[in-house]
């Protein structure tokens, strides 16, 4: 029937309208997985049994005419650094290769309460450290658009699974671009919410002041539906913020007249591939055509963002990774892969006696300046747009030996995490058969403005291409 191609909204309408059952929907997803997964390697675990039980429950609730969440019955892939009770969660690390979580992350509990259907746990760079999913200790995920290329990272598994219809949507995490960059590389929609919008309880911590969970979907509308379900304060995460959650679908008006769109010249400068730049500029022109007001802005501090990020993040990593001592759970520390070891070393050094002030504290201060610069920009504009990634999806193996080159690929996504802002990547075209992502950034708690603009773009310039698999 081709049910695997559906969006969350279409799937929901089909299921509640009894055009097909939740069970049929998830079976078609698993059929697609048996066909495509051998080529793509998006999953570390598929959960047919759980899915069957959850889908049957949805069908039963429908037969009883119960009121259901718009996510009910939707087949979802969960990035494997989000803990799921009694379902193996590895963070793609040998250290956690047989870890069975005794509890679920708050985000996943919320999804269970919405009666989503768990399809499986998706691949990532080990402990979400990387930018290509090549750092997974278990398998290399391929980009569905060109299997000789990376899907991006660290949510490469989730993004590739969505792009190849091996789930209807996925839940990822984003510390320095890990939702947006793979979404860009795989031609899907990825949203990183404001820091504190979504609970981090049960996310296997990487850098606690930067991590945030968010949806990877086929449409902007689906992103709003997921955001409605996962947002909100959680008493188990003291950094989540008690703030009313609006109905995000109300921003999907298609109306963007006079929205002030900031275009930072630094996001189109050196280091950005020309064809990426051209594709994104065309999208900006289109937004102008829809009634948006383009405002040229400057974010000079963004050039230091990578430097700040690669001090703050490894420092927090070194502290978070200290818990893996092989005593309470997991294996011993020599099982960490090279990138995890590298970041632990970098962070331990940056925090060590005699260097803390020069490195970590200096970076934390420049972080303040980066935040302030964004705040200043948002006095002038509603949203900021630019490319998500400076480059097109690169070849497998091309950057693994050169950490600094790999780190520089995060240059356009990292500033958003440092400032705690919400950001989204939406597909805005293909260059040589490879997707390009348009990044839209807003001020804290203004996910609505992003969804508004992204949705208007999407309905006027729909991205209908699909990878040939």
């Amino acid at each position: 029937m081709g049910l695997e191609k559906l969006t969350i909204k279409e799937a929901h309408q089909g299921v509640i309208g009894k055009k097909f059952s939740a069970k049929e929907l998830s079976s078609e997803i698993f059929a697609q997985i048996s066909k495509v997964e051998p080529k793509i390697n998006a999953y570390l675990l598929t959960t047919e049994e759980t899915a069957l039980k959850q889908a049957e429950k949805v069908d039963k609730l429908i037969s009883e005419n119960q009121k259901l969440s718009p996510l009910a019955g939707s087949p979802v892939a969960i990035k494997d650094n989000i803990v799921t009770k009694n379902t193996r969660t590895t963070a793609a690390s040998k250290v956690l290769k047989d870890f069975i979580p005794p509890y679920s992350a708050t985000v996943y509990e919320k999804l269970e309460n919405c009666n989503t259907v768990l399809i499986g746990k998706a691949n990532l760079d080990e402990f979400a450290m990387g930018g290509s999913t090549e750092n997974s200790a278990f398998k290399t995920t391929k980009n569905p658009w060109d299997i000789s290329r990376v899907p991006g990272g660290t949510s490469g598994g989730p993004a590739a699974a969505v792009a190849s219809d091996m789930c209807v949507w996925a839940l990822g995490t984003d510390t320095g671009g890990s939702i947006r960059q793979p979404a860009s590389f795989c031609g899907v929609v990825g949203m990183k919410p404001t820091y504190g919008r979504v609970s981090r309880y049960g996310l296997i911590a990487m850098a606690s002041s930067l991590d945030q969970a968010g949806p990877i979907t086929k449409t902007v509308e689906d992103s709003a539906l997921v955001l409605n379900a996962i947002s909100g304060f959680d008493k188990y995460d003291a950094t989540s913020v008690e703030k009313e959650v609006p109905d995000y679908t109300k921003y999907l008006t298609g109306e963007v007249k006079d929205v002030k769109i900031g275009v930072p010249k630094e996001f189109f400068g050196g280091g950005i591939e020309t064809n990426v730049k051209d594709a994104v500029m065309r999208a900006v022109k289109r937004l102008e055509g829809l009634g948006g007001k383009i405002v040229e802005i400057s974010l000079p501090r963004s050039k230091e963002a990578i430097a700040v990020y690669y001090l703050i993040m490894p420092s927090e990593v070194s502290s978070n990774m200290a818990r893996y001592d092989g005593v309470r759970f997991g294996g011993t520390r020599e099982k960490f892969g090279p990138e995890v070891k590298r970041r632990i070393m970098l962070g331990t050094y940056a925090l060590s006696s005699g260097y803390y002030e020069a490195y970590y504290l200096k970076a934390a201060k420049v972080r303040t300046l980066i935040s302030q610069e964004f705040q200043k920009a948002f006095r002038q504009v509603d949203v900021i747009v630019g490319p998500t990634s400076p480059v097109l999806p690169f070849k497998l193996g091309e950057r693994v030996e050169d950490p600094l080159q790999m780190y520089l690929a995060d240059i356009l996504t990292v500033p958003v995490n440092l400032a705690g802002l919400p950001g989204m990547s939406i597909p805005c075209g293909l260059v040589g058969g490879l997707p390009v992502g348009l990044q839209i950034i807003a001020n804290h708690w203004e996910e609505g403005k992003i969804l508004n603009l992204a949705h208007a773009y999407e309905i006027n310039f729909p991205f209908t291409e699909k990878p040939r698999l």
Binding site: F99, I100, S209, K341, A364, V366, L418, H444
Partner: protein, 100 residues
């Protein structure tokens, strides 16, 4: 500002981090860490941060407290389930006082 990490510095950091590293890893990290730190500090050294407060929580959230009452948590069995070294219902750890 020091930019080049020597092998003995890298060894010291590995000890602090409790990371058992091979000799070849130490050599590689000495080069790679130097490169990354050098890149980072060359950029940051140019930024004036006098009188600038460091960022802790990006949206400015302050400490959140809860009433000091107990709530149910994991059972002993659940908490021990993933451990590979358990003794009489406890985690078994290496003797810490015998270390150097």
């Amino acid at each position: 500002m020091r930019k080049k990490l020597t092998l003995s510095e890298v060894k010291h950091v590995a000890t602090l981090a409790n990371l058992p590293l091979e000799a070849s890893e130490l050599t590689t990290f000495s080069k790679q860490l130097s490169e990354v730190i050098d890149y980072n500090m060359t950029l940051l050294a140019k930024v004036d941060t006098k009188d600038i407060e460091p960022t802790a929580h990006v949206t400015g959230a302050k400490n959140i407290q809860r009433p000091d009452v107990t709530e149910p948590g994991l059972t002993q069995k659940e908490a021990l389930k993933n451990s590979k070294s358990v003794h009489n219902g406890f985690f078994k750890v290496k003797a810490i006082l015998e270390q150097e």
